[in-house]
Symmetry: C2
DNA sequence: GTCGAACCGGAACGATCATTCCGATTCTAG
DNA sequence: CTAGAATCGGAATGATCGTTCCGGTTCGAC
């Protein structure tokens, strides 16, 4: 059983790490995280043996939320809308969250053990949207992830404003739709 | 007039910097560049007062080539093909070249003084392609740059193979084409 | 060929970072 | 309440980085 103060500090560290890593990405220093959390650096290292461990804890948490969001939308009435809503939501998030982007970018390559199955969750959205003809049938998961990763990376790197995001995604979405069913 | 050995070393440094920065991005250390160039670090600093100066020299050179390439294609017989060829070529390059990506990503924001006018060069390709109906008329430069930057970033970050690149770009290109003119 | 100026290499400096370590403090079982 | 174990904070460590500095070397005008 963990001591009460240790447990409270662990929560503080996670909270601070989320804020700082989200703002500064992997460049954030442990000193700053410790400062924001109001603890010493040693305290962080007792819970997370290395910077990468802490980083992964945050990323895994975000991945979990991402997967949950996808699961929610998997049962929506209109799979087409659900699909595009999800895509938009993920990109919107990544405008602000640097860590999330790195998480997304790595999904395509290695789905680490223990990680929530975002890939699977997104695939459900894709297949359902394809079944109703909202998305072209020949779009593969690899391609979808590439597009999602691309838009997230750019949105975060260049901090797109809302209008640019909407317009840019409109083009991508048109590319994803069957040729005979343009945006409107 | 610069001494002969100084001039030769300057060339060596630029060559080495291109190789190393291209491979490792901004994280590359001056020590390594010096080592690859076969000179001491001091020699680099005599020509380029700061790391950023050296970095910018490389980036500007790349931007120049990018702009030149666009200018070349600006007089092509088929503007539509020229446009999509250029887009593909840029993304292809960025699979390997990290610096190029950062250059691209910053074009949208601040066109620094002295920088070649890539934006203008690309705009020519866009307008010409739109005039022949190969690209939708309502696609703005901002959106195009966002898409270009997005695909470059993702291609570099995840090292797309050729097939994934082709398939992904096919979707984006379909989104850029008028609704009544699907891929083929 | 000579000699001063320009240039060279790489050691040295100061800053920053991840990580370790330890004396002081705080928690909790009994 | 108390003892001792777990935890704490933050100074110390060692590595790496960008940048500066300087004794030695090389170039080239005369």
């Amino acid at each position: 059983m963990m001591r009460a103060d240790a447990q409270r500090n662990r929560a503080r560290v996670l909270e601070a790490a989320e804020v700082v890593l989200t703002r500064d990405g992997l460049d954030a220093s442990m000193r700053e995280i410790a400062e924001v959390a109001g603890v010493g650096v040693g305290t962080i290292y007792r819970q997370f043996p290395t910077k990468e461990t802490l980083y992964q804890a945050i990323v895994l948490d975000r991945m979990r939320r991402l997967a949950d969001r996808a699961d929610e939308l998997a049962t929506a009435d209109d799979p087409g809308t659900a699909f595009f809503t999800y895509f938009t939501a993920v990109v919107e998030d990544s405008t602000v969250k640097k860590v999330l982007v790195d998480a997304l970018a790595s999904v395509g390559i290695d789905a680490k053990a223990g990680a929530p199955d975002i890939r699977g969750a997104i695939e459900v959205l894709l297949v359902r949207a394809q079944a109703t003809g909202a998305v072209r049938g020949d779009v593969e998961m690899e391609v979808l992830l590439a597009l999602l990763s691309a838009t997230c990376l750019a949105a975060q790197h260049n901090t797109w404003d809302e209008e640019l995001r909407t317009r840019t995604l409109a083009v991508v979405f048109d590319g994803l739709r069957p040729a005979h069913a343009p945006s409107e």
